[in-house]
Symmetry: C2
Subunit: 226 residues, 2 copies
Amino acid sequence: MTLTRAPISKRGKAKAAADAGAASREKLLDAAMLVIRSKGYSAARVEDICAEAGLTKGAFFHHFASKEACAVAAAAHFAANADALFDAAPYTRHTDPRDRVLGYIDFRKAILQGELPQFTCLLGTMVQEAYDSHPTIRAACDRYISEHAKRLEADIAEAKTLYAPESEWTPQSAALFSQAVLQGGFVLAKAKHGAKVAADCLDHLKRYFEAILGAPAPRDEGKRIQ
Amino acid sequence: MTLTRAPISKRGKAKAAADAGAASREKLLDAAMLVIRSKGYSAARVEDICAEAGLTKGAFFHHFASKEACAVAAAAHFAANADALFDAAPYTRHTDPRDRVLGYIDFRKAILQGELPQFTCLLGTMVQEAYDSHPTIRAACDRYISEHAKRLEADIAEAKTLYAPESEWTPQSAALFSQAVLQGGFVLAKAKHGAKVAADCLDHLKRYFEAILGAPAPRDEGKRIQ
DNA sequence: GACAACATACCGACTGGTTGGTATGTAACC
DNA sequence: GGTTACATACCAACCAGTCGGTATGTTGTC
């Protein structure tokens, strides 16, 4: 029922049909991501998604039980894409956890490229309109946002231990705060039809982390706040 | 055509019919605010709004040319409500502009009460899904968000002149950053189905402003960053 | 102060296009 | 020959917007 992948054949190469199926499924998920990020979940028609994927409704309902199920799968797909992107990002190789935290923010700023539907967050977009009417979508968005925050939280926690062990804030709330700044930046970017506001917000966020983790140049230790 | 008010009779009291009309219009706008904040713009049916207002479609299309026009009017109504609320808020009476900025954040935190549709932002909710498909809605949301930010920007600018004249950030971007934190806080609150995350985000925001404007207690002047 | 002429506010049945979902067919592959 | 992976045709429900009608003012006129 909730199985989203065709079982892999016991031995030898994956089947051509299964490959084609998986490829079509991915096309549909990519299309769903784009369409939903462009017009929201409710306004996104399944035919829009099919057209974008170059497939038909037959294919859509072959792979997904419903529009809602597709949205949940798209959320997972979005999160998997993001995981791959951030795993491969260069900032993760910094040895200093504070550098990783600040590098994360720089990286988030660097990927604000292209049109709005290409860099805004599918999860934040969907949860805004679906949080009450579509519990499964809300749960999926919550899960993947929180999982992404957890990655960041780990670095923040390490940095805090090193540079601000006494301060009151928790790494968890700081990580979620970062996600809020990002989500809010996307909202403003949509309102103003451009990524600049979001980038400015990330500048403030970076300054905040520099403040609560101590300034990057280790000169005046007494400078830290809280 | 676009006249939304009956012409006021030359002299004497306003007419009963006009009063009733205005009252119904307001009921519809209040209902639209609630319904759209609950399920988003696309999923909000005009019959939902009518039912919530205790009126029928006849009344709806008597007062608004279209669903989209109603949404734009609801945005204006939302902004007017907000203006009244913040005009009356006690924090505005602080003489120190820094106190007003910090007081604004406290106030925003204090009004995170009740169910999600009661304290989340209509403008942010609508612009997420309508920014590309409904330009008039996007423009309205942009306008009212920016106008609200302008109010805050004035206090931030004053505080900056007093407490951080040298620092690099602009009052405008700091004001927009605050709005991003709020909007993002609402997104996370919806994902997590509770206001607590939003409140935590506002704690971080307040700490940020305390940092960039200098700590409230005027003891160590060298403590300010940037 | 009564009556005609008109305006405003609202109801609710109707319509026509839209849309999520289904049923059926078919081609390829194993 | 059975299963997978689609396409095509179709349906029933939904929903924004229309329209004829009614009730309740309001204004000018005599």
